[in-house]
């Protein structure tokens, strides 16, 4: 780094506006200053406990050459300024609580507030993760119970709750695959992925030390079984599939796919991103999968937090259970007689051939607690109804909108439908991106656009089960209005300029990448 830059960072950031921000709600107006522009040197908000601990000067506690090289500048604001700032930022943010969020592949359903109450319980939130088992029996019982219900939902034998997100679950699954094959005497070298897969799949394959082999989808949007068979040999470690796939379609030949992969000694990995579609209806384990990851922040309604935290538990068939990450919480069969149990019912056990740890502690525990609460409220019938109504909503939208937009796969979908703006673009120049941006000003979040990659101008719409028929009608009308308007004389220009009624207008992404400003201090 240059000296000039280093010096710049050490300065108090100008200008010190001292809290001069608009107090009016900012949706659609102006900008909010950064924390650094609200800063006024000498101002503070912190208050710490009176402890009575003897005060010792820093110089006596920390040797000279270990002390900070110069003054640290964060931001100096009052608590009132802090509250104003983050409250105004929150007003510039769309959320599920605000409105429908039909973002395909993301399952942005309503997040029940009871789960927030669970996560706030002091007996859960204030427990140190390194406390001995005698202090954490409630947590361990909770985790063991969650593992059991996740295994029942997926049709698997055992699970690890450590992975912090779906991608972490994928990598865990691939390392399980590697460990299992190594135990059979040969690690193998490739993993097969359909061309409609999420990008995390091939990235995880690389980190798992495997090479990706891509198989094409057939004209019906499913794995091309002949193409798959052509790739299968004894060097294939396994296949990663999402079912229903990212086109929202159920892989009808899943039993044949599983048989073919198993025949060459490969394993089947289930990407749980779309599990919401099949809860209580059909299970990955029954389809023949060996390893399953779940996205609790999708299927089991734990809130997504603007990009995380999630939780990506991995469930496996009996033959893979000895390889699971450890330590894992287990019910001690022997109870008080089990060695080292101290009379406790739950303890930590590392499986015999464990691949090792994959989280600093035990996983995103409070997310896991929220998911268990959600599952207990629903029960078996409630979960099945979730899937049924998610699929009903998606099919209703698909049916309603397939006269306005292209339906590249003209067959019933599962929990999401993939439409295309290709014809609209040819006729008017209005692209999938523009449709999404127009939808923002209609009060809805945009669908996922340009994914899956196998569909031109893709609009991937997942309404979820928690949106009402009235909301679906309003959403459909908005989609139809956007298409009709695009065909009017001024329409394409209006769509290209959308959105208007949002906190900011269309954002210059190219400039952000060309002239990188990753911090306030890097501003030109």
């Amino acid at each position: 780094m240059t000296t000039a830059k280093a010096e710049k960072r050490d300065q108090v950031p100008p200008p010190a506006a001292g809290g001069r921000a608009l107090s009016a709600p900012l949706l659609g107006h102006g900008t909010e200053p950064t924390l650094f522009e609200l800063s006024q040197p000498g101002r503070s908000a912190w208050q710490l406990r009176t402890t009575g601990v003897p005060e010792v000067p820093l110089e006596e506690l920390v040797p000279d050459h270990h002390r900070r090289e110069g003054p640290l500048t964060l931001a100096e604001v009052s608590e009132r300024d802090l509250v104003g700032h983050f409250t105004r930022l929150s007003h510039r943010q769309f959320s599920v609580d605000l409105g429908a969020y039909p973002l395909g592949s993301c399952t942005m359903k309503y997040n029940p507030k009871v789960c927030d109450a669970v996560a706030a319980l002091a007996g859960l939130a204030d427990v140190h993760p390194g406390a001995p088992p005698s202090c954490t029996q409630g947590w361990m019982e909770l985790l063991v119970e969650l593992e059991a219900v996740l295994c029942e939902v997926t049709g698997m034998a055992a699970a690890t709750l450590q992975p912090a997100a779906g991608a972490a679950g994928e990598l865990t699954g691939l390392l399980l695959m590697r460990a299992w094959h190594e135990a059979q005497g040969r690690p193998r070298s490739t993993v097969i992925i359909p061309d409609s897969a999420h990008g995390t799949n091939p990235a995880s394959v690389t980190l798992g030390g495997y090479r990706t082999v891509t198989v094409p989808s057939d004209r019906r949007g499913c794995v091309d079984l002949d193409a798959l068979r052509a790739e299968l040999d004894d060097d294939v470690a396994g296949i990663m599939l999402t079912n229903p796939n990212t086109l929202g379609l159920f892989e009808e030949q899943i039993v044949d796919i599983a048989a073919a992969v198993h025949e060459v000694g490969g394993l089947l990995y289930y990407d749980g991103a779309n599990l919401n579609a099949i809860l209580g209806v059909v299970r990955p384990g029954d389809m023949g999968f060996d390893i399953v990851h779940l996205n609790l922040h999708k299927t089991f309604a734990t809130p997504h937090g603007g990009g995380g935290p999630g939780a990506g538990p991995v469930a496996v068939s009996p033959r893979l259970a000895p390889f699971l990450p450890g330590p894992r919480p287990v019910r001690l069969d022997g109870g008080a007689s089990a060695p080292g149990s101290g009379g406790q019912r739950y303890g930590w056990v590392t499986p015999e051939h464990s691949i090792g740890r994959i989280h600093s502690w035990h996983g995103n525990a409070l997310v896991l607690a929220r998911a268990l609460a959600y599952i207990l409220v629903h029960g078996a019938d409630g979960l099945r109804r979730v899937a049924q109504l998610a699929v009903l909503n998606a099919n209703w939208l698909r049916s309603r909108l397939s006269t306005t937009y292209d339906a590249p796969y003209d067959r019933p979908c599962m929990h999401e439908c993939v439409l295309s703006a290709a014809s609209l673009k040819r006729a008017t120049g209005v692209r999938a991106l523009d449709v999404g941006k127009r939808l923002l000003e209609e009060g809805f979040h945009a669908p996922t656009v340009y994914f899956p990659l196998v569909v031109d101008e893709a609009l991937m719409i997942e309404p979820t089960e928690t949106e009402s028929l009235q909301t679906l009608e309003a959403l459909a009308e908005a989609f139809e209005r956007i298409a009709a308007e695009a065909r009017a004389p001024e329409g394409p220009a209006r769509a290209a300029a959308a959105p208007h009624a949002t906190p900011v207008r269309r954002v210059d992404e190219a400039r952000a990448a060309r002239t990188l400003v990753p911090t306030f201090d890097a501003r030109p």
Binding site: M1, R49, V153, H304, G307, H359, L366, T466
Partner: protein
């Protein structure tokens, strides 16, 4: 049966009618008959109050800090002050219930908060770039190794045993896939004994500051090792101690990684926490995870957007060096709020008071007959002791007295099964420490 679906039976009938279907089961006609489930073997759903009572009972079976136990445990998770204002802001539902900011026009709230988080972490580490968060400290360490190995073009990693043992364990797990050759270097009197390293051409050198035993070690030797070999230096830092300590950048770190839990996130039984990751401008195109950048909107107004997207897994697919997608954004927003509340003076004060408490507590415990220091290097918030009896037994005995005494150390730290790691934050009062020392005296007999 309870759920959160709004459909009336009449609406379901009407929707099925539009689709030409008789019942909901027909929606799943594509699922092969043999695979269809009769029903899950699970209890029926329960109303919210029942579930809340059940979860409350589970919570009641734990012994929580504050209510049941006074916390002297650290080891990567610390009992720092979380003021009411931090959750009041960070847990606003607009932050909690939004997705990854794929549509920046309606996500400026999260994007700007993350941009401010990145700026705060950059200032704290002295490095110019921070990402938008990773899962936890271990994940940040693993990504640091991945970046370093890719940048250096060599798979050898020299890792100080002063790095948190759980994180090292995660790094070993991941190395099965990446093929990194990790050599762990032991500590001698609390500082890394680099002389014992056998790898002569490492791609990455990793050292923790303070290290797992709470000790401050001179990072000069690690930096020189990098200069001599062309390796990248990854420094594991603590965001609270960094308020008073020499910054990773000042020590010459190429990458700084850390656990952000001390910045406003409750202990939470270990998660969700916050992986911190910062690096130099020269490594920005290898940066794992999301990055928010400033730009303008169509009217020239300041705006924020996730940027350098071409690095990420959804675009690079099998060529990506990281698979991170969902991260811990809400904890990053929490950290931005907490650091806003603390400011520079508050963060330094928290670190200073923790160091004062640790000094006072260490002296009180060393006055207990049979208790010895495990090492003599200077410490800040945490220190290691050798006890006259197994540490796990002492921890259990002190739980009965209302104290969580610390984290037992494994054999590799030289205390057999008698090493104990004790942490003292700014929240510990003199009265609590005095009571702890008195109980400790009884417990080690």
């Amino acid at each position: 049966m309870a759920d959160y679906t709004p459909h009336t039976e009449a609406e379901i009938e009407a929707m099925l009618g539009m689709l030409g279907l008789r019942d909901l089961d027909e929606l799943f006609a594509v699922v092969p008959e043999a695979l269809r489930l009769g029903g899950l073997d699970m209890a029926p759903g329960r109303p919210e109050p029942d579930v809340l009572a059940r979860m409350g009972a589970l919570a009641g079976s734990n012994r929580a800090n504050g209510t049941d136990l006074v916390c002297f445990a650290g080891g990567g998770a610390y009992d720092h002050e979380v003021p009411p204002v931090t959750p009041a802001l960070a847990l606003r539902s607009e932050f909690v219930t939004s997705y990854t900011p794929y549509q920046p026009e309606v996500a400026q709230g999260v994007l700007q908060a993350v941009f401010e988080f990145q700026t705060l972490i950059a200032r704290l580490t002295g490095l110019p770039v921070s990402n938008a968060s990773l899962y936890d400290g271990a994940a940040a360490l693993v990504e640091g190794l991945n970046l370093g190995v890719a940048a250096a073009g060599r798979p050898g990693v020299l890792m100080s045993s002063g790095v948190n043992p759980s994180w090292r364990s995660v790094a070993r797990t991941m190395a099965a896939g990446t093929g990194h050759a990790i050599e762990e270097i032991p500590l001698a009197d609390g500082v890394t004994a680099w002389d014992g390293a056998s790898e002569r051409a490492p791609g990455v050198v990793v050292v923790a500051y303070p290290n797992y035993l709470g000790c401050l070690e001179d990072l000069g030797p690690a930096r020189r090792l990098c200069d001599d070999t062309g390796a990248l230096l990854v420094v594991v830092f603590d965001p609270v101690c960094a308020g008073i300590l020499r910054s990773p950048a000042a020590w010459g770190a190429d990458v700084a990684v850390g656990e952000g839990q001390p910045l406003g996130t409750p202990l939470s039984f270990g998660g969700p926490y916050l992986g911190l990751f910062a690096c130099g401008d020269d490594q920005v195109r290898r940066l794992p995870g999301r990055l928010v950048g400033e730009t303008v909107d169509a009217e020239g107004r300041r705006a924020y957007v996730t940027t350098l997207r071409a690095r990420e897994q959804d675009i690079r697919r099998e060529k990506a060096t990281s698979n991170v997608c969902t991260n811990q954004t809400l904890m990053a927003v929490t950290a931005a709020v907490q650091l806003g509340w603390l400011g520079s003076s508050g963060l330094a004060e928290v670190a200073l008071r923790s160091a004062q408490g640790a000094r006072y507590c260490r002296q009180a415990l060393l006055a207990v007959p049979g208790v010895e220091p495990l090492c003599t290097a200077p410490v800040v918030r945490e220190f290691a002791l050798r006890l006259p009896i197994p540490a796990a037994d002492v921890v259990e005995r002190l739980v009965e007295e209302g104290f969580l005494a610390g984290i037992p150390l494994d054999h590799t730290y030289g205390g057999d099964d008698r090493g104990l790691l004790v942490a003292v934050t700014e929240r510990r009062t003199r009265e609590e420490i005095d009571g702890f020392a008195a109980a400790f005296d009884k417990a080690v007999r």
